[in-house]
Amino acid sequence: MPEYEPIVGRYFTMEVAGEAVRIYVEEAGEGVPLVCLHTAGSDGRQFRHLMCDPGVTDHFRVIAFDLPWHGKSNPPVGWEDREYELTTDLYKQTIRAFCAAMDLDRPAIMGCSMGGRIVMHLALDHPDEFRAAIALEGADRMAGFYGLDWLHRPDINGGEIAAAFVSGQVAPQSPDEYRWETLWGYMQGGPSVFKGDLHFYWVDGHFDDRSSSIDTSRCPVYLLSGEYDCSCTPERMLATADRIKGSKATVMPSMGHFPMAENPAEFRRHILPVLDEVRDQGA
């Protein structure tokens, strides 16, 4: 027998916005449910290191699913005639449908990049459904710096441009093996999916006018951002944390935009204390 990793993957179909979508989910560990949300244009494999870390899985049931259109989850039937575009409402509905389908009891929720943005929306709108929100590289106000149309046109390879756009978001200190694995995930995205995700990340998901209403006594909020992240910069993350009373912010030195994927050994030094706190709150 091979030496299997502890990660187990399965498929199921759930309904989102009136449509059936076939979802791929991976999980490992036992304990407090911890739902993990991947970055724009990628998939749940980004959390594989966390799922193989007994320091996490001894206490948490770590669950990462691929959003519809991403990874091994399918787009809805009829996708071929649509342009994919992720909105705040659709993203929230998808995550809540997933948690309901999995019958999770007040999971902690952690997301990166666009996932980091949406967990704060969930803390604002559904604080009693989640025991904590952990925003990696997430902010309530973002500023785009490139045109999204470059990401989906027939004279440019969509996978290669997506990876080349985000390659500078990986910190130079991160190990090459994980840098390139992270970028491989971007190269494998379906046409227009990264672009469609960035609609939420850069256009639709701003809520700096409402983020101060998050009640961290009902749903604690943690924000962590990498020093080398030039999209959700430490400054944008800290400005968000300033607006969310009671939130806890950490700047991770020598880290980029994909902490759990690009430098797992360094990331665990920052995330384990946060997870300990989340666990203690539930006790």
């Binding site: 710096f145 470059w150 440019i156 441009i161 500078g168 910190a171």
Partner: protein, 119 residues
């Protein structure tokens, strides 16, 4: 530094292979000086300081000499570690016909970074 560009690019067979469909001239602005970088089939065929106002390239990349100097450090500071990070931070500019740049973005980022100092 830029005088080493041909050697650094052409001596990297993988980089040349990734750029094998690139044949064009681009303009590289380093502080007060502009250079015309002539590329054929992924190889740097020439680097010449711009002397005439009408000499130009398909596209231009530009930053101050200090920014490029930091970009070429073995471990650059944040915002200086990648050309797109420099654009995001507002410390570099790009102009012209960006299509060939975007079609070969990894290649061109690597060409710019090929002058990075080695430990």
């Amino acid at each position: 530094m830029i005088e080493m560009l041909s050697e650094r690019v052409n001596g990297n067979a993988d980089l040349v292979r990734r750029g094998r469909y690139v044949s064009l001239t681009f303009l590289w602005g380093l502080g007060d000086d502009d250079y015309l970088v002539d590329i054929r089939d992924g190889r740097v065929e020439g680097v010449a300081k711009r002397t005439l106002a009408m000499e130009t390239g398909h596209f231009t990349v530009r930053a101050t000499a200090d920014v490029w100097e930091e970009f070429w450090q073995p471990m650059p500071k944040r915002d200086h570690h990648d050309f797109f990070s420099m654009l995001s931070a507002g410390i570099a500019q790009v102009d012209g016909d960006l299509l060939p740049l975007m079609q070969n973005l990894r290649y061109f980022k690597d060409v710019l970074a090929s002058l990075r100092k080695r430990n």
